[in-house]
Amino acid sequence: MSNDTETLEQFTGKEYKYGFTTDIEADSLPPGLSEDTIRQLSEIKQEPEYMLEWRLKAYRKWLTMKEPDWAFVDYPPINYQGISYYSAPKKEAQYQSLDEVDPKLLDTYNKLGIPLEEQKKLAGVAVDAVFDSVSIATTYKDELEKHGVIFCSISEAVRKYPELVKKYLGSVVPYTDNYFATLNSAVFSDGTFVYIPKNVKCPLELSTYFRINAQNTGQFERTLIIADEGSSVSYLEGCTAPMRDENQLHAAVVELVAHRDAQIKYSTIQNWYPGDDEGKGGIYNFVTKRGLCEGENSKISWTQVETGSSITWKYPSCILKGDHSVGEFYSVALTNRKQQADTGTKMIHIGKNTKSTIISKGVSAGNGQNSYRGLVKVLKSAEGARNFSQCDSMLMSDRCGAHTFPYIEVDNPTAQVEHEATTSKIGEDQIFYCNQRGISTEDAIGMIVHGFCKEVLNELPMEFALEARQLLSISLEGSVG
C-alpha cells in the first residue's frame, strides 16, 4: 500500500510537461473592456460594419447579465477589466510554406510533439494552427478548395463570406445565450470557420491546434461549422498551454449546424495548464458548445478528453430538431491536484425518433473535483425518442470528489430514457492481479484507466486516440491511494 501511495505522489506530482512560454512579441490591446475596446478590436480585424454591431449588441447585453454561480466549482472573482482582449503574434503574415513560418513557432509545436511537418506528411491532416488569436499557418488548402470546402479563420470568413456568417453566426448559440457566450460574442478574437457544401464528404480530418501563449490574454475562440445537406466532416481540436502564474480565462463558443443527412464529428483534447499543486495559475475554461441537428437524419457527435484547466465549465450539447437525428456525447474528464471540472451535456429531443447516447467517464485524483451535469429533455413532439446515458466515475484518492447531477425531463410517453451511473475506487485486486503477473503498478493502473475510458477513446480519430492515451498516462498512471 505504501508503495502505491508513493507512486501516486510521484505521478500526481508530475510537472506539467508542456509548460514553457515561447518568446514572441505580441501585439496586444491594453487590459480593459469597453465599447471602445470592441471598436478597436473590430478595427484591427478589419471587420465589416455588421460584425461590429453584433459585437456591441452582445456587449450591451453582457453588461446586464450576472455571472452564473450554479456550477459545482469554486474560484475567486474574475476581474474582466484586468484582461487584455486581443493579442496577436507580431509577424502577421500569410505564409505560403512552412519554411516562412517563424522557426520559434515551429519549435513550439515540435516541443508539443505535434509538429506541423509530420502532421502534413503522415497524418494527412490540414492544420489551421491558431497561435493565440490569429491563424498563422494553413495547410492543404488547395485540396480542400477542390472540393469546395471552406476552412479558414473566422475573421477571414467574416470578410469573405458575410452571407454565410450572417446566416449562421449566433443561430445555435445566440449572443444572449449565457454570460460567457455573450462575452465571447462581444470580444471573440479568432477561431475557425468550416463550411462543407452539399453532398461533400470532407476528404481530410480538419484540425486546429489552439495554444494560449501571450501572458494575461483571455482567449475567446469562436468556431462555426456548417455541414450542408448530405455532407460529412470530422473536426479535431487539441489544446496545450504554457505554464504561467495568472489565471487565464478562456470563454469559447462552438456552434455546429448539421443539415439533412449531414454528419459532424467534433473531437477535443483539452490539456491546458491545470495550475500548480495549490491550484494556482491554471486556465479557466468556460466554454459553450452546441450543435443543432437541423435536418432529418442528421448526426452530431461530440467526443472530448478533458485533462487540463484548473476549472472546466463545459456542456457540449445537441438540439435534435430534425426527425431521426442522432446526438452523441463521449467524454473523459480527469481532475488531479486542485482541478475542478463541471462538465456534461444536454440532449434536447424535438424531432420524432431522435436518438441520443451519453457516455461520460470521470476520473478524480489528488484533490480534484469532478462533476457530471447533464440534461436529457424529451419534448412532447419527440415521438419515439430514445436516450441512453451512462456516467461512471473512478476515484483515486481519499481527498478527491466525484459528483453527478443528471436531469431527465420527459413529456412524451413513447420516449425511452435510461440513465445509469456508478462511482467506485480503482480496483486494488485488479492491480494486485497485474502485479502478480509481473506488471508494475503504474503500468497496471495505466491499463485499468485506459480500459475504463476505452469506450470514449475508441470514438476518437486514430491520431488523437494516441495522444489522448499519452495524456491520460502522464496525468494519471500510478494514481492509486
Binding site: 476515484l395 466525484a402 431527465i408 425531463e409 420527459v410 435510461e418 462511482t423
Partner: protein, 454 residues
C-alpha cells in the same frame, strides 16, 4: 461548496409569504399559554422567525424546487381549525384499516387529536406513546424534558422554510420513546385527516420518535381528506434511531386530488442501526415528500422506498437527501411511479458521501412508467462523493409498458386491459413487497388496484 440542500439565492426578491402565517402564529402562541416560558416556546419562535426570512420556496429561485410550484397554494387563504367534529365518514376511515386491532391507533383531525376515537392503549412499561400536547403538558418532568431535548433536533429549520413553518405552528402529533433494548410489539398507526368542511384549512402535525439503543418499533402514517374545501397538510417527522435500534416507517398518502401535502422526514441514525421508510402517494394536487436521513454511526443500514400512482392532474415530488457521514454504511433507495392522464412525477435524489465515509455502499434507482400522452416525469438522481473507497450507483429510467411483455400475455389469451394491469402491478410490486406488515401490504396492493381502475 456548501452541502445545504436548500440554498436560497442571495439576490432574491422578498420572501413569498401568506398573511395567514403570522395570524396563525399569534393564535398558536396564545393557545399554548402557560408554555410561553418553556424551552419549546423558544424553539417555536426561532423557527417562525426563520420562516419569515425564507418564505415559501419558489420554483424559479430554488434549484431544489425547480419542478414544483407552491405559488397557487401560497395565494390561498388558509385558516387553522381546532374544531373537532367526528363525522361518520371519519369514523369509517379510522376503523376501516387493515388489522385494526393489531395497531396502536391514533386519529388527528386538522392537526388536533381526536380523543373521541381514542381506544384504550396497552403500552408496555417504559415506553412512552402519547400525543405531543400530552408530552408538553406532562406532570412527569423527566418525560417533558426528554421531549423538549429531542424535538427540533433532527429536522433543522435553517434552510427548509416548510419545516420551519411546521415547527413554528406545530399543533399536535405523536411522541414515541422506546427505551433501551425494548420492543414495541404492536406498530403505531396514526391517521391524519385533513378536513376542509367550511373553508380552506391548513394543519401542522408532527411526529417525534426516539429509539434508544437496541430498541425496535414501527409506525404507519396515513393521510386522508374530508370535505370539499382545499386543505394543506404540512407534516414533519423526526426519527432518532440510536445504535443497534430498528425502526420502520410507512407513509400512505391518500388525500383528495385537490389537496396540498408537504411531508418532511428527518432521520438520525446511530451505529449498526436499521431504518426503513416506504412512502406511498395516491392523492393530492401538489405533494412533496422529503426524506433526509443522516447516517451518523458506522455499520448502519438505510432503506428508502417510494411509489406514486397518479392520475388526473396530480403532481408528486419525491425529494430525498441521504447523507453518508461515517464509514461502512449501506443504503438502498428505490422510487417508482405510475403516471396516467395529465399527472406529473418529480424525483430528486441526492446521495452524499462525506470524506471520511469510506466503504460506503449506496444504491439508488428511480423508474417511471408513463401511461398517457400527457403525463410527464422529471428526474434528478445526484451523487456527491468525496470518499474514494465506495460503491455508489444510481439509475433512472422512463418509459412505457414493455410492448413485448404485453404481446406475450395477449398471445396467451389475456385481455389487453388485464395484461396491462398485471404488468403495472408487477412494476409496483417491487415497492409493496418491502412493507413488512403483511396485512398492510395487501391493503396497499388493493389501494393500487383501486387507483389504477379509476
Amino acid at each position: 461548496m456548501t452541502e445545504q440542500t436548500q440554498t436560497q439565492k442571495t439576490d432574491m426578491a422578498p420572501p413569498l409569504l401568506a398573511p395567514w402565517c403570522q395570524a396563525h402564529f399569534d393564535t398558536q402562541q396564545s393557545n399554548l399559554n402557560g408554555l410561553s416560558g418553556g424551552a419549546f416556546s423558544a424553539v417555536r419562535q426561532e423557527a417562525f422567525k426563520k420562516f419569515l426570512e425564507l418564505g415559501f420556496p419558489q420554483a424559479h429561485l430554488l434549484e431544489d424546487w425547480k419542478y414544483t410550484s407552491l405559488k397557487e397554494m401560497a395565494r390561498t387563504d388558509f385558516s387553522m381549525s381546532s374544531e373537532i367534529e367526528v363525522s361518520s365518514e371519519l369514523k369509517k376511515i379510522f376503523k376501516d384499516f387493515t388489522d385494526f386491532d393489531a395497531y396502536h391507533n391514533f386519529c388527528f383531525l386538522n392537526g388536533s387529536f381526536v380523543s373521541e376515537l381514542n381506544t384504550e392503549q396497552e403500552i408496555p412499561a417504559g415506553i412512552t406513546l402519547c400525543t405531543i400536547r400530552e408530552a408538553l403538558h406532562s406532570e412527569d418532568k423527566e418525560l417533558k424534558k426528554r421531549f423538549e431535548d429531542s424535538i427540533g433536533k433532527v429536522a433543522v429549520t435553517d434552510a427548509n422554510a416548510l419545516v420551519a413553518l411546521n415547527t413554528g405552528l406545530l399543533q399536535d402529533g405523536i411522541y414515541l420513546h422506546v427505551p433501551k433494548d425494548t420492543k414495541l410489539p404492536k406498530p403505531v398507526r396514526i391517521l391524519f385527516a385533513a378536513s376542509g368542511s367550511k373553508m380552506a384549512t391548513v394543519s401542522f402535525p408532527r411526529v417525534l420518535v426516539v429509539m434508544e439503543p437496541g430498541a425496535s418499533a414501527s409506525v404507519v402514517q396515513e393521510f386522508c381528506s374530508l370535505g370539499t374545501e382545499v386543505t394543506f397538510s404540512n407534516v414533519v417527522s423526526e426519527f432518532i434511531v440510536s445504535d443497534n435500534a430498528k425502526f420502520e416507517n410507512t407513509i400512505i398518502q391518500e388525500e383528495g386530488s385537490d389537496r396540498y401535502h408537504f411531508n418532511h422526514v428527518a432521520v438520525q441514525q446511530g451505529a449498526t442501526s436499521y431504518f426503513k421508510n416506504a412512502t406511498f402517494s395516491f392523492g393530492g394536487k401538489i405533494v412533496r415528500n422529503e426524506i433526509a436521513p443522516t447516517l451518523n454511526g458506522s455499520g448502519s443500514d438505510t432503506h428508502m422506498f417510494g411509489l406514486s400512482v397518479l392520475n388526473g392532474d396530480q403532481h408528486v415530488d419525491n425529494f430525498t437527501v441521504l447523507d453518508h457521514a461515517v464509514p461502512s454504511c449501506e443504503s438502498n433507495e428505490q422510487y417508482k411511479g405510475i403516471y396516467d392522464d395529465k399527472s406529473k412525477g418529480v424525483f430528486s435524489g441526492t446521495i452524499i458521501v462525506r470524506e471520511d465515509a469510506q466503504k460506503t455502499n449506496a444504491i439508488q434507482s428511480n423508474q417511471g412508467l408513463l401511461l398517457s400522452d400527457t403525463a410527464s416525469l422529471s428526474t434528478k438522481p445526484q451523487l456527491k462523493i468525496w470518499a474514494d473507497d465506495v460503491k455508489c450507483t444510481h439509475g433512472a429510467t422512463v418509459g412505457q409498458i414493455d410492448k413485448d411483455a404485453l404481446f406475450y400475455l395477449q398471445s396467451r389469451g389475456i385481455k389487453k386491459r388485464e395484461a396491462m394491469g398485471l404488468l403495472i402491478r408487477a412494476f409496483a410490486g417491487d415497492i409493496t413487497r418491502e412493507v413488512s406488515q403483511e396485512g398492510l401490504r395487501s391493503y396497499l396492493e388493493d389501494a393500487i388496484t383501486e387507483k389504477l381502475s379509476q
